[in-house]
Symmetry: C2
Subunit: 213 residues, 2 copies
């Protein structure tokens, strides 16, 4: 392709796949994979249906691409941020949760958890990929931090694996909720307040001082 250039079409061409992915993600999240028509994806991306098939094999390949392309950079960034963090385990938990919420709660990935949950049954391979390479990887960050905190005496001794899931559950819940019932029904759901309350209760709950049992 042209190295130099009269850019209008060149630039658009390079951006196409991403534009199509964004359109597809939005619709897959909103209506589900099966109920989304390729015509619609195309229209939303500002192209014709034929063009979508220039960049993606078929509908399923488009779904795969949406999940894989969007997830990788976000996760890498999160891991880097954690690796470079210094401070108490408690602060790191706070940072992880804020980070996660900034990324998945608002960004383009916001709808991914709902999409994956809804389609896991129909695309087991993709679900496996997501579970192994995304969820587990993210959970490990929490689990390690919790183990660190226990070792340092900040947190009381507890099942770190279960607690890591506990730390994430309200986050996942919140982002799924935002894209389902919150849209049509549960309008008085305030994610920010909810996440704050979670941080508050969770950190109190695992604190070494308040140990029960």
């Amino acid at each position: 392709m042209g190295e130099h250039g009269s850019g209008r079409w060149q630039r658009r061409k390079a951006a196409r796949p991403d534009e199509i992915r964004d359109a597809a993600l939005a619709l897959f999240v909103e209506k589900g994979f099966a109920a989304t028509r390729m015509d619609e994806v195309a229209r939303r991306a500002g192209v014709s249906k034929g063009t979508v098939y220039l960049y993606f094999e078929n509908k399923e390949a488009l779904l795969r691409s949406v999940v894989e392309e969007l997830v990788e950079p976000a996760l890498a960034q999160a891991e880097a941020q954690v690796a470079g963090h210094h401070g108490s385990a408690r602060d790191l938990i706070r940072a992880l949760i804020s980070q996660w919420w900034a990324m998945v709660g608002h960004g383009r990935l916001s709808g991914l958890p709902k999409l994956m949950v809804a389609e896991a049954g129909n695309f087991p391979e993709l679900a496996r990929y997501f579970s192994e390479k995304v969820v587990k990887r993210a959970r490990r960050l929490f689990q390690r931090t919790l183990e660190l905190g226990i070792a340092q005496g900040e947190f009381r001794p507890l099942d770190a694996a279960a607690a890591a899931r506990l730390a994430m559950a309200p986050l996942v819940y919140a982002s799924i909720w935002r894209h389902s019932l919150a849209c049509c029904g549960d309008e008085d759901f305030d994610p920010e307040r909810f996440i704050q309350a979670h941080l508050d209760v969770f950190l109190s709950g695992i604190d070494a001082a308040g140990a029960c049992e």
Copy 2:
């Protein structure tokens, strides 16, 4: 039902709608509404497709019926059980969570949260019904209990509305998980242990003193 005699077919006939609902629920949860074929629902219920249309207007009416018929009795029972409960707020929270998990974690309703989350976008009216008449109603049970506990000095002062959501989030998360990623990927998810850990951390987290029990 049959006042006299050959009861076998009578009974079957009376049970049909429920059998069809169960079949439909299982498939809707597993594959999603759009990807489920009416032929399949019928086959699973042990009847032909035409029969399904003897009992339900159309596919959407079947979905509505699945949600509404299954939910009402369970919710009523839960409220009754709570109304008759005496003891500390802490015990009541424990009872509510166990109750919820016994009902939604294992029973026939097990898949409902996933189904509603996945289809809320395509059926806003149904989502609204579910949100108002089911979720809010269930949440009120938790919220009242928390307010009671705060008033009695068992729990520290906190945002009861947010805390009620926090109490439920891991439960919802767990039952959604069981029907999505846990099926194909995250096999080492142990719901019982997870719920136990939740009870433990949550109750410590909202405890007034820091000394539980």
